[in-house]
Amino acid sequence: MVTIAFLFILVSSTLLSILLDMHLYDLSFFQTLHFSLTLDAGTRKTIVFTALITGLLASFILDYRMSKEESEKKEAR
């Protein structure tokens, strides 16, 4: 569930920012998408995406752990 939420929020918030950018720069959707997601060169890209990936990993782990806990609970019953 956490992973789903993560992906959902990620996609939709990117979408939101893109919609705003479309309006501001008068570009088409795909142009804006390309334009927004290509970040500046250098270390910065890696930092941002590393952060995002750790977020994704964390949500995987959390999901896994919670499903395990749930199944343990069921067993206990």
Partner: protein, 372 residues
């Protein structure tokens, strides 16, 4: 000592949270600059006017006790519709947190750590927000009790220090209202009424957790007025120090004004220190929006909100970067689009829509209560 399951915040804490929330980014980026030397009047007017919506938020929350905005929406609109609306709200909350975070990042990178990537600032700051929300709302409340005196104290001290440095030229605020109330009202609506005052909509997520709900509303309104006054004071000091033109020109007028302080050749360049004071306001603002969003996720995805903290914090850090390419884009979005497209529907539209439903449902609830 059993741990209390429902987190409570005291009225003092609520007061501090509301005022720190209102200072938040507002005190950094400077508000109401368009009203030139009358911006302090504009702030006071906006503060007084926004008592109405804030009272309205409080009314909605108090109508159905112990339920936050999202739970009320669930009661009013039913599961399906409310889920969609809640998701929209979550997006709104996260988007605003990201914007505030960007404001803060720009501040740090622009003035203090010039070569440090803004991304690192965003991420480190979000890590802290994640940590404090992981510890809980209660901890955030107590945390603010410690830092609030410094925040308020230094905002007040800036004016006094400027006065001693002979930089406070009160005549700069003259003439008062040379062109009537028109320009002031143009600033008040829609800008000031939505930012920072309308953003108190996020407190509909917090109010139900106040320890004395009966007084929570009064406390919030008192905090609103006090912080409105302090914001106006700060704006007044900025105008008196810099003059309206320079204030409007400055990216972070409070810092520019503080930079003028010079006492005994020793207290100089205090603006760097003010940044830290401001950092606390930013923290509260981001935390509360973030908390609102997390509570929404908890409701929609049916998992404890702590589970979402780290991933979502990273998304907000990411968002704060891609939200705009450059500072100009960030500001122009903030001026031209965010108030109309984003603030007004979420701050006024949906709560207003909620109003008749809440009245109807709460009547139902009450009569049910009587039957029992």
């Amino acid at each position: 000592m059993q741990k209390e399951l429902v987190e409570k915040i005291s009225l003092t804490q609520l007061f501090i949270l509301v005022s720190a929330f209102l200072f938040g980014s507002a005190i950094v980026v400077g508000i109401g600059g368009e009203a030139e030397q009358d911006s302090w009047i504009a702030i006071i007017v906006a503060c007084l006017l926004s008592i109405i919506p804030v009272w309205f938020y409080i009314f909605l929350v108090s109508r159905i006790p112990e339920k936050n905005l999202f739970e009320i929406m669930e009661i009013a609109f039913g599961k399906m519709i409310s889920k969609v609306l809640i998701l929209l709200y979550i997006l709104y909350f996260f988007y605003i947190s990201a914007r505030v975070l960007r404001d803060f990042g720009e501040l740090i990178v622009g003035d203090m750590l010039v070569n440090t990537p803004i991304e690192v600032i965003s991420i480190t700051f979000m890590l802290f927000v994640a940590y404090i929300l992981y510890l809980g709302l209660e901890v955030l409340g107590r945390f603010s009790e410690i830092y609030a005196p410094y925040l308020m104290g230094s905002i007040l001290a800036v004016g006094i220090l400027l006065l001693f440095s002979r930089e406070l030229h009160v005549k700069n605020v003259l003439p008062i209202l040379p062109e009537g109330i028109g320009p002031v009202m143009n600033t008040v609506f829609p800008k000031l009424i939505t930012f920072p005052f309308g953003e108190l909509v996020a407190f509909m997520m917090i109010l139900p957790y106040a320890s004395k709900v009966r007084y929570a509303g009064k406390t919030t309104i008192l905090a609103l007025m006090v912080s409105g006054l302090i914001l106006a004071y700060s704006s007044f000091v900025q105008i008196a120090t810099l003059g309206p033109e320079a204030k409007l020109r400055s990216k972070f007028p409070l810092l520019t004004a503080t930079g003028e302080i010079s006492l005994w050749n020793f207290i100089e360049r205090v603006d760097l220190i003010i940044i830290f004071v401001v950092m606390f306001g930013i923290l509260v603002k981001i935390s509360i929006f973030f908390y609102g969003g997390l509570k929404g996720l908890e409701l929609v995805f049916n998992r404890p909100y702590r589970a979402f903290i780290y991933p979502m914090a990273m998304i907000i850090a990411f968002m704060s970067i891609i939200i705009s390419k450059n500072f100009a884009e960030h500001i122009s979005e903030g001026i031209s689009m965010v108030p109309w497209i984003i603030h007004i529907p979420f701050q006024y539209g949906i709560p207003l829509l909620l109003f008749p439903f809440v009245l109807w449902k709460s009547k139902g609830l009450r009569s049910e209560g009587k039957k029992r």
